[in-house]
């Protein structure tokens, strides 16, 4: 089994974007930009580098979607979902600690 190294941030965002739907390249860029209020704007170069790595690691898979055959849709695999969930949980723990230290405002109980 391959040793699981932590995802790069680009990869994390791509997985996040695919968490709720299968998307193609432009959709992923838009979703990431929307979720991060425009602070993270992926370019096509880094996007496809990340997708290539994620495909090789088996965290995403390419799917046939109806419509434009030139558009390549990507889907989160089970391993990918597990990985992104793990990382999201670890982020949550970090955020909780930051709130406890008053670095971040409380969201509300």
């Amino acid at each position: 089994m391959r040793a699981t190294k932590p995802l790069s941030s680009t990869s994390f965002y791509v997985l996040l974007a695919l968490a709720d739907a299968d998307r193609y390249g432009l959709e992923i860029i838009d979703d990431v930009a929307a979720r991060t209020d425009g602070t993270v704007r992926l370019g096509p170069g880094s996007l496809y580098n990340a997708i290539k790595r994620l495909l090789a690691d088996g965290l995403v898979a390419e799917v046939e979607a109806g419509g434009d055959p030139r558009r390549r849709y990507y889907r989160l695999t089970r391993a990918g979902r597990a990985q992104v969930t793990r990382e999201a949980e670890s982020f949550e723990r970090i955020v909780k600690a930051a709130r406890a230290k008053r670095l971040l405002p409380d969201v509300g109980r």
């Binding site: 370019g43 096509p44 290539k52 030139r70």
Partner: protein, 887 residues
């Protein structure tokens, strides 16, 4: 314009990336640009460009990593070669060991190929046959044919397309400074047609060219061999038309035969390897039908099988026997055999025996190489386990090992071919006469194919061991343990087995060598009935031009003998129609006691010899009764005969043969004449044809009473070098047209006659020596590893008080176990090898196991020597270091 720039940018990505994501990248970039308006578009463009430039290095790195990891047998090959380059000593040793084994086998196979497999270089070679005479009544096989028999064959157009005959003789060529003896092939013109010869220069002889050789005024046609043309006629095109004088008759050179022309005929049957010139026979009907001398080759009609040919010829033979009086009671039939298989049949036992020995040597080198590879794989286990940890699957590791082994095997095959050619060249200069007829030993497609096949075996040997080691070992543990002690146990069993087998093969080869040594010694010890010290031999032919009648020839032979005998340093001299071991064509004729001329049971065709006075003394024969030929036994006096003891016993049992009368054949100017001769002496048999063949009876007649065209003289003298130089002049002084030929010492002749057996012996000795070295190395290697793997045990023993001697003996016992296993394997191997070689052995029974003891002793001695050093090292090891480090 932005589109163009984007496409340019895309081109900077690696090809695999472009293939996989190029279109998607372009689409996404286009869509991003399309969404932006006005000045925002420029911003998007800049962002896309900088993102691309930033991600380029990562994309290229990823593509490179892909190439290394995923694919490419080509990359594995490169890795394999690099890995081999890092281990020069291992590679050198394995390539060398393999190349030696391969080279020897390639050399022997090349000989076997030329002798047996290569098609004869004649057109329609598969239809060429040898036609023997087979005398059923006299149990005389592979006999030559008479002109009548040959003529009858020419009439069978339904069986043969062409039939031709040859008879070998020699003649004196005059016209140059000193008369010269040349080898003459007397042929029917049809023989050249049968063999499909195309002349190199000029034309072939035809039936019209035949002339009667005894008519001195006629001028015939003659063909010269390529070698003779270059040697004696200057190799010029204007040699055509030269007149040569052969035995006083004139011949015009009408053609030169090609360089590679040879009449390929079974050995020892009267057709030598090379002729200088070829002279056509007259029409068969003009030749004496009752003389049997033709060696016949025919070409079967298309579609006619051997069986059909033999059946058809049985009828021809029956008709001939009815028509010809000299054949009536002979039961003579024809025996047709394929030339391709017949011409080297005598070589088969020896060559196949050597091939078997070479095969054993190959197995030895293969096991040695396999052992080397196994140790190498074991030593590299840590390296392999690191590879495995990095994700390489075992299949990939196996492929890497395969490529390494292939590299070594390929190098060894190429080197083996080169070395094999060299070995062949060296062996060829030493070859015995029996191999002389193989004029070409090319490395042809079949040899290369054989080399590739055994190269593949080498590959198998090299790769099997390491793959087994990798598969069987637990790589992770090996990497962690790191101790050579643990890892060296791997493969030890394989190496022990290999060493045992090597010892077995060596034992078998040693037994074979000892058998051959004894065989050659037996041959040397044979009492041939004559002696060879201080004796010279030379031959002389008597040209009919100068000595037309039998009386002339008898007289001149006696004059030459007297001229030589007059010299003070000559102790004895005599001549014979068949000087010992010269393998002149055997003459045979019936000798019948006068009391019993019709008894078929006693009809025996015996070897017929014409000898001069003084011959038996000169050649050192042992007279048992009576006398030898006397000066008074001339052409006009009473016919006399001397029998050998075998014939005397057959005819007269225990009673004395002296004074008895026998009917013999006297050769009288072209035909045999029966005459009654009185037995005046009995002599011990002279093995003049071959040392290992006991004769079946000989009769010696006075040369003067049965004169031939050729004679061989034996001269006994103390200082035979000086005498040898003087002989040509002495003979020329007697008659200016007489040439001295083939002057040699009898000792050389005797040694040469066992040339083939000695050659085989030398080859066997070389193979056995190599086998001893290889198996010693194998055993040494195994014991070293054994010692390492038992380091802890030895350390404990030494620590609790064992003496060095005890440890030494412990290790020796381990070696002895392997040696004994090897001997057990070797016993059946030796029996097999001896059985295969049985026809090459003389005076040795293959069931004779007394040779096993010295061979076993040699093997044990070698094993002890091989084990001594590792055992001593183990005994001297430091117990604390052994216990601590574990090796």
């Amino acid at each position: 314009m932005m589109q163009a720039a984007l496409r340019l940018l895309l081109a900077l990505y690696p090809a695999s990336h472009r293939r996989d994501f190029g279109a998607a990248w372009l689409d996404t970039a286009d869509a991003l640009l399309a969404r932006a308006q006005g000045r925002a578009r420029i911003g998007v463009f800049i962002r896309v460009v900088s993102d691309a430039l930033r991600s380029l290095p990562a994309a290229h790195a990823a593509a490179r990593a892909d190439r290394h990891d995923g694919g490419g047998a080509l990359w594995d090959l490169r890795d394999a070669l690099r890995s081999l380059r890092r281990q020069p000593r291992f590679v050198a040793m394995t390539v060398l060991v393999l190349a030696l084994g391969l080279a020897f086998n390639i050399a022997i196979f090349t000989v076997a190929n030329s002798a047996f497999l290569r098609p004869l270089p004649y057109p329609q070679h598969d239809r060429l046959v040898v036609i023997w005479g087979d005398w059923r009544a006299a149990d005389f096989v592979e006999a030559p044919l008479s002109p009548a028999q040959l003529g009858a064959l020419r009439e069978t157009r339904n069986v043969f397309e062409e039939v031709g005959g040859v008879w070998a003789s020699s003649a004196t060529l005059t016209g140059t400074d000193l008369p010269q003896q040349v080898g003459v092939g007397r042929i029917t013109a049809s023989l050249l047609r049968t063999l499909g010869v195309v002349p190199a220069l000029g034309r072939l002889v035809t039936d019209d060219d035949a002339s009667d050789p005894r008519d001195p005024s006629a001028q015939g046609a003659i063909l010269v061999s390529h070698d003779y043309w270059e040697r004696a006629l200057g190799g010029d095109a204007d040699a055509l038309g030269t007149i040569l004088r052969l035995d006083g008759s004139s011949y015009e050179v009408v053609g030169v035969l090609p360089d590679d022309f040879q009449i390929r005929f079974p050995a020892g049957k009267g057709v030598p390897v090379g002729f200088d010139v070829f002279v056509p026979y007259p029409e068969l009907q003009y030749l004496n039908p009752a003389n049997f001398y033709f060696r016949a080759i025919g070409r079967l009609q298309q579609g006619v099988t051997l069986q059909q040919a033999n059946a058809a010829l049985d009828e021809v033979a029956a008709r001939l026997r009815a028509a010809r009086p000299e054949l009536a009671d002979s039961g003579a039939v024809y025996d047709v055999r394929l030339l391709q298989s017949e011409w080297t049949r005598d070589l088969r036992p020896a060559v196949l025996g050597v091939q078997l020995g070479a095969a054993l040597l190959l197995v030895l080198t293969l096991t040695t190489a396999a052992s080397l590879f196994v140790s190498n794989a074991v030593a590299r286990l840590p390296e392999h386990s690191v590879r495995a940890a990095l994700g390489a699957r075992r299949g990939r590791l196996a492929r890497l090992l395969l490529f390494e082994a292939a590299g070594v095997a390929a190098a060894a095959t190429v080197l083996g071919l080169a070395l094999g050619a060299q070995i062949l060249a060296v062996l060829w200069t030493q070859r015995p006469d029996s191999l002389a007829r193989l004029d070409q030993l090319p490395i042809d497609a079949r040899v290369v194919g054989f080399a590739t096949a055994i190269g593949a075996l080498a590959l198998l040997a090299a790769v099997t061991g390491p793959v087994l080691v990798i598969v069987r070992s637990r790589l992770a543990r090996a990497a962690m343990a790191g101790s050579s002690r643990a890892t060296s146990a791997v493969g030890l069993r394989m190496r022990r087995g290999a060493a045992a087998f090597q010892i077995g093969a060596t034992f078998a080869l040693l037994v074979a060598t000892l058998l051959m040594v004894r065989s050659v010694a037996n041959l040397d010890a044979v009492d041939p009935g004559f002696q060879t010290e201080s004796r010279l031999m030379f031959t002389m032919s008597l040209p009919p031009r100068w000595f037309p009648s039998g009386a002339d020839r008898g007289r001149i032979v006696e004059e030459v003998r007297r001229a030589i005998a007059e010299r003070p340093d000559v102790e004895a001299v005599g001549g014979s129609s068949h000087p010992p071991l010269r393998r002149w064509v055997n003459w045979a004729s019936p000798v019948l006691p006068i009391e019993n001329l019709d008894d078929p049971g006693q009809q025996g065709i015996v070897d017929h010899r014409a000898v001069t006075p003084g011959y038996f003394a000169a050649v050192g024969a042992t007279m048992v009764e009576g006398r030898g030929i006397a000066v008074t036994d001339t052409g006009g006096s009473e016919p006399v005969a001397i029998l050998d003891t075998v014939l005397a016993r057959r005819l007269y049992g225990d009673k004395s043969a002296l004074g008895r009368v026998v009917q013999v054949s006297q050769w009288d100017d072209g035909s045999f004449v029966r005459a009654d001769a009185r037995v005046v002496g009995v002599v011990r048999p002279l093995r003049d044809q071959a040392l290992d063949v006991p004769g079946s009876g000989q009769v010696f007649l006075p040369f003067a009473q049965t004169p031939r065209w050729e004679v061989g003289y034996i001269v006994r003298a103390r200082d035979h070098d000086r005498l040898g130089e003087a002989l040509p002049a002495i003979v020329a002084r007697v008659h200016g047209e007489l040439a001295v030929a083939e002057l040699r010492s009898m000792e050389d002749v005797r040694t040469n006659s066992t040339g083939a057996e000695r050659f085989t012996l030398v080859l066997t000795q070389i193979v056995a020596a190599m086998a001893v070295v290889l198996s010693a190395l194998g055993l040494y290697g195994v014991l070293s590893i054994e010692a390492v793997s038992r380091t802890r045990e030895i350390g404990i023993r030494l620590a609790v008080g064992a003496r060095e001697g005890q440890v030494f003996r412990l290790m020796l016992r381990a070696g002895a176990r392997i040696a004994l296993q090897g001997l057990a394997v070797g016993l059946p191997l030796s029996a097999g090898l001896a059985f295969a070689a049985r026809t090459s052995l003389f005076g040795v029974e293959t069931s004779d196991v007394s040779f096993y003891f010295p061979a076993a002793l040699l093997v044990i001695a070698m094993a002890v020597l091989a084990c001594a050093l590792p055992s001593r090292r183990a005994a001297r090891s430091d117990p604390t270091a052994a216990l601590r480090g574990g090796g």
